[in-house]
């Protein structure tokens, strides 16, 4: 063993495999084991739009300082995919460690002096110990996990417990996985001399005690269950499908009454237009309803979103963003639907957006979205992305929500009995532009009205009258402009007196937080505002006013967040600097730091 100083819980491991070979199970086990060891770990699954065969990478970062953004490049590279190993090897970081399958890769290709090599006969070990062809493929992954376990001192007991918990209902699978793990461990023990400085070490047990590991999509689905959503129309699309599918499984668990009634209706529709149509019909009839989709689906929902905006129907739409334009990179991440959604629909339309940054906020804002939609009687978009939605994240425990549902201004039969008239699209001066509604089926002569996407007056009558049209549109504008009252406030971090500001939304949080530390180490003090909703609160303008320069961080090419700020906060433009970068990967803190210095000219 070299005399190099040990590097503990502060490096990245990148595992290159082929899609569909079952490596995900081994990789998740590694991540979960680190989590249970109290280590701060974050994981990114970089997978292709493919079922079997194309390359996939899994990267786990551990950080002593608690950083969770993805690093470009890794200190340890595990090369199991023979189609990509040459390129993966050449691109490996200087002085990194490379573990490779010596049975399917040529030793002469591993020529770099700076790299520490650990050849492992993975294919042979798997075929010697396991008979069934499928098992050989699957368990090869667990063998490399065993090797990682022994090489970097991943706690074997914890790892074995994770395997036992994952397959608790399949004792045979547990058995074969444990034996594969031990094959990897034993091979390293007997054949490899450790020459690298990287170690995993158990941290204080309490470190992850109040945390869970979960995907954003699952958190959004659970938030929808807790938020009282009862109707879902959806159409499968990466990366949002698992949100709807999680909702299905949670409803089966939590929403079936004792006499077998389902207090939910889920329809896998024929397309995204029908999905949102179902949700609009349900929202109109009084049920809390949502759909989950991604950019291409949002594009298809444009017309019906305009209808819901104009007819004032509460609906919740989850957009788990992926890389566009068009089909784009369906399995890569981006924040590129912001400007599309802000004005989604033809004509003058303005939409509400919520921006969760982590699974806990996914849970909270998803539940809250249904209150907001009903209070404002308008579509509410929960903006997530592939990185947040589909990757496993360490997250603080979710808090149990205690507040009652806010159903907004719904007039029941008893309310109507006290009234002389009901005017669907009339709101008094004190109502922030929000009118009252009635639900179909209300047994009262005043209740009925005609909902339409065509021009209407305060009494929901068809009209093309110029004054009536304008009155209605100006009321809708007022409703939107004053919506921030019921929207979650922005979060501000850092010293108030700092003159350099940073603004970013959603999953760029982790990279921004880390980059701010690096900037601070370089003597550059920053403060950071993270809007949790759109339209923006007055605090966003105040924040910009209090800065000399504000760097707006965009995970897209066209600076969409900056555009929203510029358009919606007049005169903010001179102070704004744009970091707008996207290649499909999550944001890198190091790259952001370097560019921030240039862009802010500091």
């Amino acid at each position: 063993m070299s005399q190099k100083q040990k590097i503990i819980n502060n490096f990245s491991v990148r595992i290159a495999t082929a899609n569909g070979t079952g490596s995900q199970s081994a990789n998740n086990t590694l991540f979960k084991a680190l989590f249970r060891m109290g280590v701060c770990a974050s994981a990114k699954n970089l997978f292709p739009s493919n079922i079997k065969g194309l390359p996939t990478w899994y990267q786990i970062r551990t950080s002593q300082k608690g950083y969770t953004a993805m690093n470009r490049g890794a200190e340890v590279n595990v090369l199991v995919n023979k189609d990509t190993y040459k390129k993966d090897y050449e691109e490996s970081k200087e002085n990194s460690v490379v573990i490779y399958d010596s049975n399917i890769m040529s030793e002469s290709d591993f020529h770099r002096d700076d790299i520490t090599h650990y050849p492992l006969p993975l294919t042979k070990l798997a075929s010697t110990h396991f008979e069934k062809p499928r098992l050989r493929v699957l368990l090869k992954n667990i063998i490399y996990l065993g090797a990682i376990c022994e090489l970097f001192k991943l706690d074997q007991e914890v790892t074995e417990q994770v395997i036992k918990d994952s397959f608790s209902h399949k004792p045979k699978v547990v058995e074969s996985n444990l034996s594969a793990l031990r094959i990897g461990v034993d091979y390293v023990k007997q054949n490899i001399i450790k020459k690298d400085p990287y170690y995993y070490e158990k941290e204080n047990d309490s470190k992850n005690k109040n945390k869970i590991v979960i995907e954003g999509n699952a958190a959004c689905a659970l938030g929808s269950v807790y938020g009282g959503c009862t109707v879902v129309g959806w159409y499968p699309i990466t990366p949002s499908s698992s949100l709807a599918e999680s909702f299905i499984s949670y409803c089966e668990k939590y929403r079936v009454s004792q006499d077998g009634e389902h207090r939910y209706a889920i329809v896998q529709a024929e397309d995204e237009m029908a999905s949102l149509g179902i949700v609009v019909g349900a929202g109109w009839a009084g049920a809390r309803a949502m759909t989950a989709t991604s950019g291409p689906g949002i594009a298809l929902m444009t017309e019906i979103t305009g209808l819901a905006y104009y007819a004032e129907v509460p609906v919740v739409i989850f957009d788990v963003q992926r890389v566009g334009p068009s089909t784009g990179l369906p399995t890569r991440t981006q924040q590129s639907d912001l400007t599309m959604i802000a004005n989604l629909g033809h004509g003058d339309t303005k939409q509400i957006m919520l921006f969760p940054k982590c699974p806990k906020e996914c849970f909270e804002l998803s539940a809250q979205a249904f209150d907001i939609a009903e209070e404002l009687q308008t579509p509410v978009f929960v903006i997530s992305d592939l990185d947040l939605g589909m990757n496993q994240w360490p997250s603080d425990d979710f808090d149990y929500p205690l507040h009652p549902y806010n159903r907004g201004k719904v007039l029941r039969k008893e309310d109507l009995a006290e009234m002389d008239t009901f005017r669907r699209y009339f709101s008094g001066d004190e109502s922030h532009g929000i009118p009252s509604r009635t639900l179909p089926g209300t047994d009262h002569p005043l209740a009925s009205y005609f909902t339409r996407g065509s021009g209407h007056d305060e009494d929901a009558r068809y009209t093309e009258d110029p004054d009536a049209y304008r009155r209605n549109m100006m009321r809708l504008l007022k409703k939107f402009q004053e919506a921030y009252r019921v929207l979650p406030k922005p979060v501000i971090e850092g010293n108030k007196k700092a003159k350099i500001g940073i603004i970013g939304v959603g999953s760029t949080y982790d990279a921004i937080r880390e980059a701010r530390d690096y900037l601070s180490e370089a003597g550059i003090k920053t403060k950071y505002l993270r809007p949790k909703s759109f339209p923006f609160h007055p605090e966003v303008k105040e924040f910009i006013d209090s800065c000399d320069k504000v760097l707006v961080v965009d995970l897209n090419r066209d600076a969409q967040l900056k555009e929203l700020i510029q358009v919606n906060i007049p005169n903010s433009e001179p102070k704004l600097r744009s970091f707008a970068y996207s290649d499909g990967m999550p944001l890198s803190a190091l790259y952001l730091t370097r560019k921030a210095k240039e862009l802010l000219n500091v």
Binding site: K211, I212, L222, Y226, G228, T230, V231, G233, Y254, S257, E261, H262, R263, Y264, A265, I266, V267, A269, E270, D271, M273, A274, L276, G277, I278, V279, G281, A282, G283, W284, A285, G286, A287, R288, A289, E303, I304, L307, D397, F398, Y400, P401, P404, Y405, R407, T438, L439, P440, G441, D443, H444, P445, A447, S448, Y449, F450, T451, R452, G453, S454
Partner: protein, 348 residues
Amino acid sequence: MSNTAQPVKTEETNRIGLTKKDYKGLPSTMCPGCGHNSISEGILTAFYELGVSPYQVAKMSGIGCSSKTPAYFLHSSHGFNAVHGRMPSVATGAALANRNLIVLGVSGDGDSASIGIGQMIHSMRRNTKMIYIVENNGTYGLTKGQFSATADVGSTDHYGLPNDQSALDLPMLAIISGCKFVARGFSGDRKQMLALLKAAIHHDGLAFLDIMSPCVTFNDHPGSTKSYEYVKAHDEKLHEIDFIEEKTEINVEFEEGTYRDVSLHDGSIMRLKKLDRDYDPSSKLQALGVLQEAFDKKEVVTGLIYYDKNSVDQAEALKLPQVPLHEYGAKELRPSKEALTEFLKSFK
């Protein structure tokens, strides 16, 4: 419908004490003589005569002349005029959110046979509990007379130009899409239309009614196969129909042995008088055969074309409760604190 055995409270009120006026809507803005007006009249008459509360009805429509008509009947019902071709999905959402609603979808051949054909077919696959009416005139009226997808090939528009695309037969499409109640009527035959509408209101699932409804402005000329003259001359009735409501004494004009009774789930009966052929609406193959034969001859078959009594509507299949979903609050919908603790534990 002749239900003389039913005690009539006053001359004008139905069994829930409402007059026919209570089922009217705003004055129609359709062209005078438009078939759609007859259908609106048929709809309101059916609901009035059955004594359905208008508060229970949700009128859904898409875009086009036909889709404007829900404003002209049942003024005390909620209405939703959605976007082009999307009525079926919006209706599906409403029907699931509140099972007690009687969902009435009114669409046209432009709305359903072209832009909305996917939604039409898939709402049939789902068997959403609704009455789905297509007011079929073979033309786009609001945009001034273009051909629709139900216009026969070779028929001409109001400029005399022939249609070069083949026509879709909606009942045929409905049958192969899994629809369990498929009928065709003619706006000029009120008696048949009324019986079909009443049966449709009683059906458990999606009841599809393709109603020929001539467009007097753009498609009522000699080159059209959707004109009054043409449909009257080529209407081949499968049977004469009467609808007998549950618990109503059967007292209709058909002679014993000349009719076939079709029972609906709630005990109501569609009584079909045989004409020249012994038509069995429960046979999918016979239904498709009769439609294809008529299609080839450019005839219009009317009546109850296909009926499957084993219909389970979507809300039932999804095991939804009888109460509207909006009646549930946090108490019923939000899982317990213990459930959350347990959930979090499984992600540790």
